[in-house]
C-alpha cells in the first residue's frame, strides 16, 4: 500500500470523527442554553463548545462577540475554520476520493452522499430551531460512515490505518472536552456548594461524549459525582469514548498492523505503552498527580503517537 494511501485512510476517518464531535458539542451548547437558562442565552454555553473544539481563538479573531448565530455559522459552515463541520466533511471526502480505489463503494457512497446533501443545505436555512435536527442528521451520517466502514472494509492494512485515525481523533476530543472544564471534575466539587451549576456542567460533559445514559448503567446508583464522571470518561474501558477504550482499540489495531506487516515498529510500542498505562492507573492516582497535568500529558502523548505512526509508515 502507498504511504499516501495509508495517510488518506487515517485522515478520512479522523475528519469524519471530528465532524461528529463538533456537531455533538454544538448540540450540548444548544441544549444547555435552553435547559439551564430557560432560553436566556448564556455566552458560556456557546463558549464551551468553542473551547472544546479548539475554535475559541479563531472565532475571536474572525467574529468576536460570542452569539449563538455566530458560533453556529463558524462551527458548522465556515470554510476557514479547520474544525467546522463543513471543512471536516470536505477534507474527509477529499481523502476518500484520493483513495477511491482502496475503499468500498458502500463507504464511498456514504461519504459522498453526506457531502452532497450537506452542500445542498443553505446556511441561512439552519436557524436556531432547526439546529438540533440538522446536528442529529450529521451524527447519523457519521454513524452510517462508520457502519459502512466496519461492515464492508477488508481487514487489511487499510482498515487498521482507518481505525487508528478514528480513535486518535476520538481520544483527542475526549481529553479536550475534559480539559476545558477540568475544575468541575475535581473531587472537591463533590462536597462544596449545592451542585446545581455543576450538575449542568457535568451533564453537558457527559452529553458531549454521548455518555449521559450509559453512565447510569456503569454506576448503578446513578448519582453524578465528579470522581465517577472522570473515571467513566478516562478509565472505564466499556465506555466507547473513554481514553482507555480508545487506546485499547488503538493498541489492538497497531498490533494487527504489526502482524500484517510482520514487523514491530516504534509507534506500535508507543501505543502499547499508553494503553498499558491507562489500564494500570486508578482515578486516585490521576487526582493525586493532578488531573489537568494528566490530560495535558495525554494530549501530547496521543499527538506523538500519531506523528510516530506517520513516520513509521511513510505517510506522505
Amino acid at each position: 500500500m502507498l504511504g499516501r494511501t495509508a495517510s488518506s485512510l487515517f485522515w478520512m476517518s479522523r475528519y469524519h470523527e471530528r465532524a461528529m464531535n463538533t456537531a455533538k458539542l454544538l448540540e450540548v451548547a444548544y441544549r444547555t442554553a435552553i435547559v439551564a437558562h430557560g432560553g436566556q442565552d448564556s455566552e458560556d454555553d456557546w463558549r464551551f463548545a468553542l473551547l472544546c473544539a479548539g475554535c475559541a481563538f479563531g472565532y475571536q479573531e474572525k467574529i468576536g462577540d460570542v452569539s449563538p448565530k455566530g458560533v453556529i455559522s463558524y462551527m458548522v459552515f465556515d470554510k476557514e475554520n479547520p474544525s467546522s463541520v463543513r471543512v471536516c466533511l470536505e477534507t474527509a471526502r477529499n481523502n476518500a476520493r484520493a483513495v477511491r480505489t482502496s475503499i468500498t463503494s458502500e463507504l464511498w457512497e456514504a461519504i459522498n452522499t453526506t457531502w452532497i446533501e450537506f452542500m445542498d443545505t443553505s446556511p441561512q436555512s439552519i436557524t436556531r430551531d432547526r439546529l438540533p435536527e440538522f446536528l442529529s442528521w450529521i451524527s447519523q451520517r457519521s454513524h452510517l460512515f462508520r457502519g459502512a466502514l466496519l461492515n464492508t472494509l477488508l481487514r487489511d492494512d487499510g482498515y487498521f490505518f482507518s481505525q487508528l485515525g478514528n480513535f486518535v481523533e476520538r481520544a483527542d476530543n475526549t481529553a479536550r472536552v475534559l480539559n476545558t472544564q477540568y475544575w468541575v471534575l475535581l473531587p472537591d466539587n463533590d462536597v462544596i456548594g449545592d451542585g446545581s451549576m455543576d450538575r449542568y456542567q457535568w451533564t453537558g460533559i457527559l452529553r458531549a461524549l454521548s455518555g449521559h445514559r450509559s453512565y447510569r448503567f456503569a454506576y448503578p446508583d446513578a448519582k453524578l459525582t465528579a470522581f465517577n464522571i472522570a473515571e467513566f470518561l478516562i478509565l472505564r474501558r466499556e465506555m466507547p469514548r473513554s481514553l482507555a477504550h480508545c487506546y485499547e482499540w488503538i493498541s489492538g489495531s497497531a498490533n494487527d498492523l504489526g502482524l500484517f506487516y510482520g514487523e514491530k515498529l516504534p509507534s506500535l510500542t508507543m501505543a502499547d505503552q499508553i494503553s498499558d498505562d491507562l489500564a494500570n492507573t486508578e482515578m486516585q492516582d490521576i487526582y493525586h498527580n493532578g488531573l489537568h497535568d494528566f490530560l495535558n500529558d495525554f494530549i501530547i502523548q496521543n499527538n506523538n503517537f500519531a506523528g510516530q505512526l506517520s513516520k513509521d509508515y511513510n505517510f506522505a
Partner: protein
C-alpha cells in the same frame, strides 16, 4: 448556407421507417408511456451523483464537479458497420505507430518527400528527447481514442486521432452498467457486444509492454495529477478495475535509474506507468522544471529501459492538427494500402492560399486551433453570429498558423431524450483502441451527443451528453 441542413438519421430512413438495427428499439420506445424516459433519466442522475461520476469544468468556480448529461436511448451500430469501422481503425493506429517510430529514427517519410521536414521538426509536439529511443515492441501510442463522425449510410470520417491521453472510457463502461440496470429487458431483445472486458484488455496491453518481458509479474500503476483533475474519477476507476495502484507523482521516486513507489513498507519497483499527465509535466528534470506533478529523473529511467511510459512521451505529434491532413499519406506510406476511413478535407491556415479560402468562407466552415481541445477556441461558421465571425476573423488574421479549417460536416443524428419527448440530435463516436502485443478494439465506444437542437458541438464542456453505444452481434 442557411436554414435546416439535411443530415443522416441513424434510426429512420427517408420514408420514416426504422432501419434494421434500430427496429426493436423503435417499437420498444413507442410502447412506453410519455413520462417513462424522464423518470428513468432522473434515476440515472441519482446513481451517477452518488457514485461520484463527475467531471470538472474549468473556469466554473461554484460547481467544480458536474455530471455529464446521460441520454438513456442507446446508439446502435450493426455488426457489418462495426467490422468496417474497426478494420479502418486498426489500419490507422498501426500506421500512426509506425509513423512515430520512423520520425524518431530514420525519418524515411521525410526523405521520401511525403511530409515536409519543417512540419515535424518545428512542431512543438515533436520531442527531440525521444530521437533514437525505441520503446518496448516499438509501440508509442498504446491507448488511442479515434474520433469519428458519420455523414451517411457508409460515410464515416475520422475527425481526430487522440494519441496522447484520451479520456472518456470510464463513461463508456458506466453508461453500459447504468443501461443494464435500468433497461434489462432491452438487453434481452438485442445481442449487444460486451464492453466490460476493457480493464482486463488494458492491463494485458500494459503488461505486454513492460521493459523486461522475462519478469513474470509486471507492476503497473496509473499516474494521475490528483483529485482536482477533471478526469480524476476516470483515473481512479481504471486503477480500481485493473487492480493496480493509483499514484501521484509524489508517490514515485527514481533511484539508480529505476522507478519505485513509496509504500507503507519497502519501496516497490514500478515497470509500467499508464500516465494521465501531459508530457510537459512528466519529469521536472527533463521538461518543465516548475512542475510538481511529475517524477524527477523519470525520463532518464525511461530512456535507460527500466520503465515503460504509456503513452510514450512525444506521441502528440501523431494527433497534431497540422499533421492530420497527412494521415492518409502516412497510412499509404507505412501499410501500402489505401485508407479505409476517410479524413475530413482540411485547410491549413499557415498556407496563404488556404487562408484566403478560409477567410472568404468563414460562414460555412469550422475553424479550430491547431493545439486546442475540448471545443474551446473554435468557430462553427454556420451557427455563429455575424459578430462572432467578425471577431474570429481578426484573431485568425493575427495568427493564421495557429488554425486549421474544415468544411462543416452534417453529423448524423440519433434518437435522443429531450424535453418534448424523443428527437434526433447530432452525435459523434470515440472508439477506444489498445495497442500492445496485439491491437484490441472495444466494440462501440463513447457516443457524445449535442443536446441542443441543431447544435454540432458534442463536447461535454460545451453542454454535450453521452450515450451508451451498442454494437450488435450477428
Amino acid at each position: 448556407m442557411s436554414g435546416e441542413r439535411t443530415f443522416f438519421n441513424e434510426m429512420l430512413d427517408d420514408a420514416g421507417n426504422s432501419r434494421p438495427a434500430y427496429a426493436k428499439l423503435d417499437s420498444w420506445l413507442a410502447s412506453k408511456p410519455p413520462n417513462f424516459l424522464k423518470k428513468k433519466n432522473r434515476e440515472a442522475e441519482t446513481i451517477f451523483r452518488r457514485l461520484g461520476i463527475t467531471f470538472a469544468v474549468y473556469g466554473s468556480s461554484q460547481a467544480t464537479e458536474r455530471l455529464i448529461p446521460f441520454d438513456p436511448i442507446p446508439r446502435i451500430l450493426s455488426a457489418s458497420e462495426w467490422r468496417r469501422l474497426s478494420a479502418g481503425i486498426d489500419q490507422r493506429v498501426r500506421a500512426l505507430n509506425a509513423f512515430l517510430h520512423d520520425i524518431y529514427h530514420r525519418q524515411e517519410i521525410i526523405r521520401a518527400g511525403r511530409i515536409p521536414a519543417d512540419l515535424i521538426m518545428q512542431n512543438e509536439a515533436f520531442l527531440p528527447e525521444m530521437v533514437g529511443f525505441t520503446p518496448a515492441r516499438k509501440v508509442y501510442a498504446h491507448i488511442i481514442g479515434t474520433d469519428l463522425v458519420r455523414v451517411g449510410e457508409d460515410d464515416f470520417y475520422v475527425l481526430e486521432d487522440n494519441t496522447r491521453t484520451p479520456s472518456g472510457v470510464s463513461y463508456m463502461m458506466e453508461n453500459r452498467e447504468t443501461m443494464m440496470r435500468m433497461f434489462p429487458e432491452l438487453f434481452e431483445l438485442h445481442r449487444v457486444a460486451p464492453v466490460e472486458h476493457y480493464p482486463d484488455s488494458l492491463r494485458q496491453t500494459l503488461e505486454s509492454v513492460g521493459p523486461d518481458q522475462s519478469k513474470s509479474n509486471q507492476t503497473v500503476v496509473v499516474l494521475t495529477p490528483g483529485i482536482y483533475n477533471s478526469a480524476y474519477f476516470e483515473h481512479a476507476f481504471l486503477a480500481d478495475s485493473m487492480g493496480v495502484e493509483l499514484v501521484e507523482g509524489r508517490d514515485l521516486f527514481v533511484d539508480e535509474g529505476k522507478v519505485f513507489m513509496r509504500t507503507t513498507r519497502k519501496p516497490k519497483q514500478v515497470d509500467v506507468i499508464y500516465r494521465r499527465i501531459d508530457d510537459a509535466f512528466l519529469d521536472p528534470l527533463t521538461f518543465q522544471p516548475e512542475s510538481m506533478l511529475g517524477v524527477p529523473g523519470l525520463f532518464d529511467a525511461y530512456r535507460a529501459g527500466n520503465v515503460t511510459i504509456c503513452n510514450a512521451p512525444g506521441t502528440g505529434i501523431a494527433d497534431d492538427k497540422a499533421i492530420y491532413a497527412y494521415v492518409p499519406d502516412i497510412i499509404e506510406f507505412y501499410t501500402g494500402q489505401k485508407p479505409i476511413l476517410k479524413n475530413v478535407p482540411t485547410w491549413n491556415c499557415s498556407r496563404p492560399d488556404d487562408l484566403a479560402y478560409v477567410l472568404d468562407n468563414l460562414e460555412d466552415i469550422v475553424v479550430k486551433e491547431v493545439h486546442g481541445s475540448g471545443g474551446y477556441g473554435m468557430l462553427i461558421g454556420p451557427t455563429a453570429s455575424k459578430k462572432e465571425i467578425a471577431d474570429f476573423r481578426k484573431v485568425l488574421e493575427s495568427n493564421p498558423s495557429n488554425y486549421i479549417a474544415q468544411p462543416t460536416l452534417a453529423l448524423s443524428a440519433c434518437p435522443t431524450h429531450v424535453a418534448s419527448g424523443v428527437a434526433p440530435r447530432h452525435v459523434d463516436l470515440r472508439p477506444y483502441v489498445l495497442i500492445g502485443d496485439q491491437v484490441r478494439i472495444t466494440p462501440g465506444g463513447l457516443t457524445r451527443v449535442a443536446l441542443k437542437k441543431g447544435s454540432l458541438v458534442v463536447n461535454s464542456s460545451q453542454g454535450g451528453g453521452t450515450k451508451d453505444t451498442w454494437v450488435l452481434e450477428d
